[in-house]
């Protein structure tokens, strides 16, 4: 049953792609390979180029984690097959929207994304998720062991320890929005992120009681109505 499902989706995709008029020698194939610079030279040059490529890959992955993954998961990048020009445009847009990236980090990130998720990167494997699991990902979970807290105390803790990145009103800055989100009702997941760190966020030492206070504060907040039209 399942394998049929996969064959079905895959078959239809390939067929439909064919019908849509896949370029036989079109733009995507004519694009110079971003990894081509590694091809030339003698063995030692090759080895050093490979070492550089590995370093660039590691740097690229770190930049992705820092700049991209606090707002969306990596699948959003991995399914793309974009040229360097398209990646430049996309990254520039995201930097304009406050992705955590310094000016000097834009080019390396674009280079990494173009080399990894360029037009010639090959087929992308779409994952599957059980319907129950998709529902459960958004559903509230018991707060235990995070205790019910004091909102006013939580406000103080939040301002002191979280607002530098997440903003005084918790609407995001270096960190992301913490107002009116399903994660606030999944205390254990939230605690794990806070204590482990994520993207640019370093692990935070915080007690269950302090976290309970901060949650009590955050849960009472709502986003303001949309601003007037420009």
């Amino acid at each position: 049953m399942r394998s049929r499902r996969f064959a079905e989706v895959l078959g239809s995709i390939v067929l439909a792609a064919g019908l849509a008029g896949c370029p036989s020698s079109g733009k995507s194939d004519a694009r110079p390979d971003a990894a081509a610079s590694v091809d030339a030279g003698d063995a030692s040059a090759n080895a050093s180029a490979n070492a550089n490529a590995n370093a660039n890959t590691n740097d690229g992955k770190a930049l992705v984690a820092q700049a991209c993954l606090s707002c969306h998961t990596e699948q959003m990048l991995a399914q793309q097959r974009l040229t360097q020009g398209q990646w430049t445009k996309t990254v520039t847009k995201m930097v304009g929207w406050s992705a955590n990236l310094d000016a000097t980090e834009v080019a390396p990130l674009v280079a990494y994304l173009s080399a990894t998720y360029g037009p010639d990167a090959g087929p992308y494997a779409i994952e599957t998720v059980a319907a129950d699991e998709a529902l459960a990902e958004l559903a509230p979970t018991p707060d235990d062991p995070i205790p019910a807290g004091d909102a006013e105390k939580g406000k103080g803790t939040f301002i002191e320890r979280c607002s530098g990145c997440h903003g005084q009103d918790a609407r995001g800055g270096i960190g992301v929005l913490l107002v009116d989100r399903p994660l606030l009702y999944r205390a254990k997941d939230l605690a794990a992120i806070v204590r482990k760190g994520r993207g640019k966020m370093l692990p935070v030492r915080i007690t269950d009681a302090e976290l309970g206070d901060v949650l009590a504060h955050l849960r009472r907040l709502r986003n303001p109505p949309p601003p007037p039209s420009p």
Partner: protein, 366 residues
Amino acid sequence: MQAAGALAVLRSGVAHGGELLLRHSGAPQQLATPLEYFDRAITPSRVFFVRSHFGPPGLDRTRKTAFDGMVTTPLTLDVDELRKSFPEVTVTALLQCAGNGRALHKPRVPGVQWVHGAMGQATFTGVRLRDVLTKAGLSKDAQYLRVSGADAPPKPTVPAFMRSLPIERAMDPTTLLAYRMNGEELTLAHGAPLRLVVPGWAGDHWVKWLVSVRAEKEEDGGFFMKTAYRMPTEPIEPGAAVPPEKMKPATTFPVKSTIARPDGEKRPVGPQEVTGLAFSGVAPIASVEVSIDDGKTWAKATLEGEAGVGRAQVFRYRFDKKEPGRVKAMARAKDKKGNLQPESPAWNPSGYFWNGWHAVEWEVGS
């Protein structure tokens, strides 16, 4: 060659209860419906595609929606108050993301790489938007409704998602403020407690987690109206840049058919059946034709269910395959305004509204 641009489905190692969605992104959830569910008029809610820009807000069934701006009596109502104050209506409509089929456009463009599954049909129950606007005393000078949800962007520098819906479309009797889907309370992923339903129009107009409906004179000037969700006003070369003045908002989705079955698995010699969904956001479906000889000849499929604008009908084509061999079937739909599903649709910079002929292949054995 095709493989380079195609998408494949990874076999998940995790045991599951049977129903699967295709996960284009974990967070925010971007989930597609597998093709096999398009063999029936109603897509089950559990496998109904999920898409939003920022992910849902917290679940709050008492959340209120403000109806204000150019009205004489601003109203702020929750679902209970809406139900008590206005007649309840149910519509059956196809919901499709503007980017459904984006992965099939060549050259590729950025965005969620949907293939066929960013669509589904459901019954939506709620009250008519026009009833609420009439009670609020909508000004005759209002031209647009600026609608937005509680799903705030991850950072204040990211533009908030919203749509400007032309008043004429807002006042259409099929435009609903819906709180139920397929007979059940809306789930959070589908917009609980309240979402817009705009049959025939791309999914971005069906704003979820609705909190603000503001009557205005002008179309909104922000990113989501002036940059995103726009289509070229005239045909362009694939890959070409389009000047902003030659772009307009993407609204109604074009005529399309999608084959659900056969699903690629070997079938015995004898009767064969091609089944799927056909719909148009512009007019009811007039016909669906199926070809099993690579487009040389086409035969009419039967249509089931009620016809309507933005409403999908099931099509079915039966034929006999007496000898073993490979079969390829293609479908194309026509709507009652004479629009014909193209073999290969025009490319556009955001990869919207792919509606080319869909083909499936399978092996017939003895």
